[in-house]
Amino acid sequence: MRPVIQLSDGLSVPQVVKQASRMADQVDRLRYLRGAVTVGPGRPRGIHQWLDGMAVWIIAAAATAVGFALVLWRIS
């Protein structure tokens, strides 16, 4: 599994770095980072990751198929 940087809601790594870099006091900076950043185990690799990536395409294909079916039903 890939360790990933996890951040507080709505923040990105550049935002966190920018915010931390503004803090002159070392303890304030450390306190902020310890609150904002964690490292998690990340997502499992392999079939699960592949399925995660494929999910959007499967949903899109299913929606298209339903759409076509509705159109065909209306025409007939």
Binding site: R2, P3, I5, V17, R29, L30
Partner: protein, 333 residues
């Protein structure tokens, strides 16, 4: 609240090292340190000896039919009597072969930090990272030190030594980098990203290994090796001095082992978090202090490809206090 009351409630950082125990305090926005040698010797009890020690205010305790002299005073007595000091810790944890270990540690820690003063006063104390797949007594060591501090009234939290070095030294890189503490028992390493430890491990070759091996091949005492190493020694290559030559050889061994383990551990970590920038490396601890250490370390690091980009390697400005300062910073958060 008086100044004394304020002092008694401020957090503390404690470096529980194999060779020295150091406490860091933050007073008036400045760091202050007190240290004691983590060693002792025993003398046979007699009234005369005890009264002499008391008169000279030597740090000691009577245990059964022995007098235990601990801390910095143990070194003086060891030199006078030409004996080795005994060590409460071995390779970063409580020494399993030493029956006095816990009692001596309790005495030294109590002398350094005193009672908490206020309930729940925070203290962070350093602990080693595992050396490999085995745990090697770290849990017992950690629980024992924690209990000593809890008995003194503190709210005690452990922090890995390498991470403490990152906290003390890597503010400029937002606590991203590799902190290495080369002490007596172990070299502790932590790779941290934005203050969060990603990889931590320790290498069981450090100052004591150098002293013991150099003493074995020169027929000297380990204690003498340590004193020589701390006072005059530099990594200048081989010369006519056989003690310096032995120290050089075993220093090289430690540096090679450390850099190879660092390289292989980072390489074998399945995948690291994505890093856009190169990372700094900071070295601390008493073992990195001889002249020439940094050059040898950098040469060994660059001998083969390294799995991440290194921004630079430097030695801490205050290598003996870095771990305690990092522990204090964690306690202040």
């Amino acid at each position: 609240m008086t100044n004394n009351d304020v002092d008694n409630s401020l957090p503390l950082g404690l470096d529980v090292g194999t060779s020295r125990i150091v406490v860091a305090r933050n007073r008036d926005k400045k760091y202050h340190y007190d240290a004691q040698l983590n060693a002792f010797i025993t003398l046979p009890y007699s009234n005369l000896a005890q009264s002499l020690l008391e008169r000279e205010t030597v740090f000691h305790e009577v245990v059964g039919d022995e007098i235990v002299v601990a801390g910095n005073d143990a070194q003086k007595f060891a030199e006078i009597f030409h004996v080795e000091t005994r060590r409460p810790m071995l390779r970063g944890v409580l020494n399993p072969q030493e029956p006095h270990s816990l009692a001596v540690m309790r005495r030294i820690i109590t002398r350094l930090v005193g009672a908490a003063g206020t309930d729940g006063r925070k203290i962070f104390f350093s602990v080693p990272a595992p050396t490999g797949t085995t745990e090697e007594g770290i849990a017992y060591h950690q629980a024992s030190i924690r209990q000593i501090l809890i008995d003194l009234g503190f709210q005690a939290q452990p922090i890995e030594e390498g991470l403490a070095v990152v906290y003390a030294e890597m503010s400029a890189s937002n606590y991203t980098g590799i902190g290495i503490s080369c002490g007596s028992g172990l070299c502790n390493v932590c790779f941290s990203v934005l203050s969060v430890p990603v990889i931590s491990f320790s290498v069981p070759k450090a100052g004591d290994f150098i002293d013991a091996q150099a003493a074995a091949v020169t027929g000297e005492l380990s204690t003498r090796m340590r004193v020589h190493k701390e006072n005059t020694f530099g990594l200048n290559g081989l010369s006519g001095d056989r003690v310096a030559n032995a120290l050089n050889v075993y220093y090289d061994d430690v540096i090679r082992t450390l850099t190879n383990t660092l390289r292989s551990t980072i390489s074998s970590t399945q995948r690291l978090p994505k890093l856009d920038q190169s990372v700094p490396v900071v070295l601390s601890g008493g073992t990195v202090m001889p002249n020439g250490f940094l050059g040898r370390f950098v040469t060994a690091l660059r001998a083969e490809d390294f799995p991440i980009r290194i921004a630079g390697v430097r030695i801490s400005d205050d290598p003996l206090h870095s771990t305690a300062r990092g522990a204090l910073m964690a306690a202040l958060c």
